[in-house]
Symmetry: C2
Subunit: 383 residues, 2 copies
């Protein structure tokens, strides 16, 4: 089969071209409504400034060097958070200069990689176990750096973290006594509370976690180890920590994009979504089959959006309902038979973080046109 | 901050090196037990040969050019199936010469890409709507190729597909009459039946779908359009279609790897897993926190395995239970406190297909060492 070099240019390694109409984007694709995104970024920037807390925007949501740098330059962020060393490596390689790995790193090879990274950027990490302190200390010394360390407390999520109070102080003493690492404060993040829909229940959970953080901070101060940093909070709970007078740094990530599950997290006042953020991230999908009246099939299945927190919703289409996903198909109920073959829809993903991790590219759109293509720089960087 | 060129070599772009011990793999990582994988491949090859059906192994599971070529060279596969045009493009670029896109392609730009691809490999596609036939025909003509076309029938999954029987014949006539495309047969795949655990229920579903395919084939023969190919079946149901005397091609994919959900799909005879295939795909994970007695946290969360079909199981460790996942953490119940920090475990993912799509690399291991690194060639190719 003869083929010219032009024929060998198969494969759209990017799903769209800059300047193209949104109608030409090959679906499914991950699109950002740039206007809504910019409003979300400004809203959190202004809120953190008003509340007098530092904003360390979590990069686990977007995994993009372009977005991280934008958040630091225009979004009021002092730096970023990451969850894994490889995520931090990729973003530092992309130009980020200040990263908190808001997680424990226990493997000696990963600790070595983290210490190497500290030669290239300001790096901090969490600990919840005295057993790793000598390894952190040795690796930092060998690479000629000082690694900043936060003690993480379990403040109710029952995941990682040392017990609040005296056990946290004991661990902080071990950190403070070790060479080449610096105890800088407390990480107190209640992950599962972020998605408690009822505002009273959510507040109750964070009041408890803030209490544990406050107890720990007081005991640390008594021990001569007053925490410089008390950090935590996510998009769902950030107003509570920001108003606590204890937290001086917040780590929300999802606010830039939002998702279908976060839309169910209500404010104290009523049905408004916490923080007032808008949907800015969508999976653009096409109808590829109309097999029978009342139903249609789109091309966005499990490999195009994560359903761990629920199915996606169809943006701005109260007449349509996404009812089921297989690997590469999405079933849509269309009782009015409104949809035609090749119609495009915007799906609001159930959970933005793992959805973004499915894609290689963000397609940023404005006024119906593709304005930017941002790589998902740290996609797949889970190690 | 000064850094030497060696320091700038940050980031393990591959999670392991060839020849390394399995203990040095950076986790979480997607590993293949090569011995078990090779046994699975041989088992299906021999079974298809014994049953006298062609094996067109579905590449949606593995998305790897290396694996696709291995299945065609050593695994008895006549070609591969794909679900999306971009997936087919990536695998053809990787050397695959025969691909059935076992799905509908309706978007004109995608149809153009498919027709271009037909200059580089043998390509077939499915239709369920006469409306796309002129576009397929025109694109094939413009690129100077003949595109093979299967009519897909809905044989019970209520997803894509034209109604079996007379409507399918009408569509086949439209395909046969159009220039530059060739009607070659029927696609009759019952996706949701693959994971029906009870063998009697599963058989009942496939008996129905086989009935619909048989009716369609008979009517097609009467109309002078006897289908050359009757294709379908997956890992869960393939013995039934293979014994039907109707299907002459089967499309299983997951058999090479298996997963936790497929392990629940029982044979007729008892509790054995359908087909007798072994677990060959694992997420290697490390314990990164031991916060309290009876529980541990590993580094494999939602970004490391897909939980759409259930949580992963811990391979060969009946004393441990994986009980919850967040983005980058997995909670493990360890009632005997057997686990230590940095211990490594193999997780059997709940659903292999979307799990593989999370990774850039397969780490193939044998006798405790890394033997191969295979790229997940078509990772993220959902468009």
């Amino acid at each position: 089969m003869t083929a010219s070099p032009k024929d060998l240019e198969i494969g759209f390694d990017v799903p769209a071209e800059i300047g193209a109409s949104i109608d030409d984007i090959q679906t499914p694709a991950l699109i950002i409504d740039l206007d809504a995104f910019e409003r979300n970024v400004a809203r959190m920037r202004d809120y953190a400034e008003k509340m007098g807390v530092k904003l360390r925007a979590h990069a686990k949501t977007h995994k993009s060097a372009d977005i991280a740098l934008y958040l630091m330059e225009k979004g009021g962020a002092v730096g970023i958070c990451c969850q894994k060393v490889s995520e931090a490596e990729a973003l530092v390689r992309g130009g980020v200069t200040d990263v908190l790995v808001a997680n424990e790193v226990s493997d000696p090879k990963k600790i070595d990689r983290l210490a190497r990274l500290t030669k290239l950027a300001k790096v901090a990490v969490c600990v919840d176990d005295a057993a790793v302190v000598p390894t952190l200390s040795e690796a930092a010394g060998r690479h000629g750096v000082t690694l900043d360390v936060l003690v993480e407390i379990d403040c109710g999520a029952r995941r990682c973290g040392v017990e609040a109070g005296a056990p946290a102080v004991e661990l902080a003493k071990v950190v403070a006594a070790a060479p080449n690492i610096a105890f800088i404060g407390i990480q107190a993040y209640h992950g599962s509370a972020q998605h408690i829909y009822d505002p009273a229940d959510r507040r109750a959970a964070i009041d408890k976690s803030t209490g544990m953080a406050r107890l720990t901070a007081d005991l640390l101060k008594e021990a001569g180890l007053e925490p410089k940093i008390v950090t935590g909070a996510g998009t769902g709970t950030h107003p509570i920590e920001a108003a606590s007078g204890l937290y001086n740094e917040i780590q929300p990530g999802s606010y830039i994009f939002m998702d279908a599950d976060y839309a169910r997290v209500r404010t104290d006042e009523g049905n408004g979504t916490v923080g007032g953020f808008e949907h800015a991230l969508f999976v653009l999908t096409s109808i590829m089959s109309k097999p029978a009246s009342g139903r249609a099939v789109c091309d966005a299945g499990l490999k195009a959006h994560s359903i761990d927190s629920g199915l996606p919703s169809v943006f701005d289409r109260s007449d349509l309902k996404f009812v089921g996903a297989s690997d590469e198909h999405g079933k849509i109920e269309d009782p009015n038979d409104a949809l035609k073959l090749n119609d495009k829809l915007r799906l609001v993903p159930g959970h933005c973080d793992p959805t973004c991790n499915l894609y290689d590219w963000y397609v940023g759109v404005r006024d119906g046109r593709v304005e930017v293509l941002w790589p998902v720089t740290a996609r797949g960087k889970v190690y």
